[in-house]
Symmetry: C2
Subunit: 199 residues, 2 copies
């Protein structure tokens, strides 16, 4: 689904590109529909031919980017054989995405959280798929005995997702470089062995 980039009307594409471009420099709320239309080279009314409202436009832009991100992470994970390798791949690739795709990172980490209808959007479906990927690895690890058994998989998943997001958040907010290997490495260390004195 959402695949045929062929049949998409040019105006629709230009509108989505315009928003992506504008979001390189401004937050979503600061961007007006008039500005989007101007940059896209179309009229304001056209936006509402293809998008239910301004937020729906944001969600569809996010969905488009998220599909690429999911493919990228999945491909990277498929290269790894052992559990911790796959876990590391997931974390490392996620951080790498946040580091390089700033518009994507800003949308997912900052913008959509406060928009209520996001959680019924197709873009949120991507979040669930993404989240499920991590959960899958964790379940494997439980089943194989590589991870301790006394943890709730969903809790553990949320702990990891939160840790990843928050370690990247400040860099994304303040446009600072992200030390991808550093963040991913520290995360994996903590997760593997905890913060107790090294064994």
């Amino acid at each position: 689904m959402a695949v045929p980039s062929r049949k998409q009307p040019p105006g629709r594409i230009k509108i989505m590109q315009a928003l992506r471009l504008l979001m390189e420099e401004q937050g979503f709320d600061a961007i007006t529909t008039a500005e989007i239309a101007r940059v896209a080279g179309v009229t304001e009314g056209l936006i509402y031919k293809y998008f239910k409202d301004k937020r729906d436009l944001l969600y569809q832009v996010l969905e488009e980017m998220f599909e690429g991100v999911i493919l990228r992470i999945r491909a990277r994970m498929d290269l790894e054989k052992d559990i911790f390798g796959r876990l590391h791949a997931f974390i490392d690739e996620t951080v790498a995405v946040y580091a390089t795709q700033r518009v994507f990172a800003r949308i997912i980490l900052i913008e959509v959280r406060s928009l209520p209808d996001f959680f019924t959007s197709r873009a949120y479906g991507c979040v669930r798929v993404y989240s499920r990927m991590l959960q899958g690895v964790l379940e494997e690890g439980m089943a194989s005995g590589d991870f301790r058994q006394d943890l709730d998989v969903r809790f553990l998943r949320d702990i990891l997702l939160g840790a990843i997001e928050h370690t990247c958040l400040w860099g994304v907010l303040f446009h600072r470089e992200l030390d991808v290997a550093g963040v991913a490495g520290q995360l994996i260390t903590v997760v593997r062995e905890g913060i107790g004195p090294s064994t």
Copy 2:
């Protein structure tokens, strides 16, 4: 500072209470200034006598609540002697706050993140104080040798903060009960010992 609840004009207090009340049921963006004024029993214009703009009102409400939260967490931590006890107190009390003070939780976890000028507000100062409390514990743990030495304290702090926030996020978003002891317990377990098979 910010103490004298005496000298505050009644209108100002009523406006802040009105926003808190309205936020029990609605998101910040969905609340209009007209509605705030109506509930407060004052006119719309008065809001702008005491608050720079609508967001500034939100920040001041948050700041007021945050001061109480900080006192509460600090008091709880001061009861604990050993490092892991203090760490557990910080986590447990934070989760308890998110579980019981839903308006506070929603503002800090969901609303302010996308508002650019939040990070120059006094309320953000509270976030820094709060965050510094955790960092203090971690530094102690490093110094005393209770924690492993090869971790960056600030990374570790962000990992923990993110983990706490994210494990509470869905409950807060979807108005579900939070299993305070469960969340805090799992977090402490992971942090202490990692996810490797239990030793």
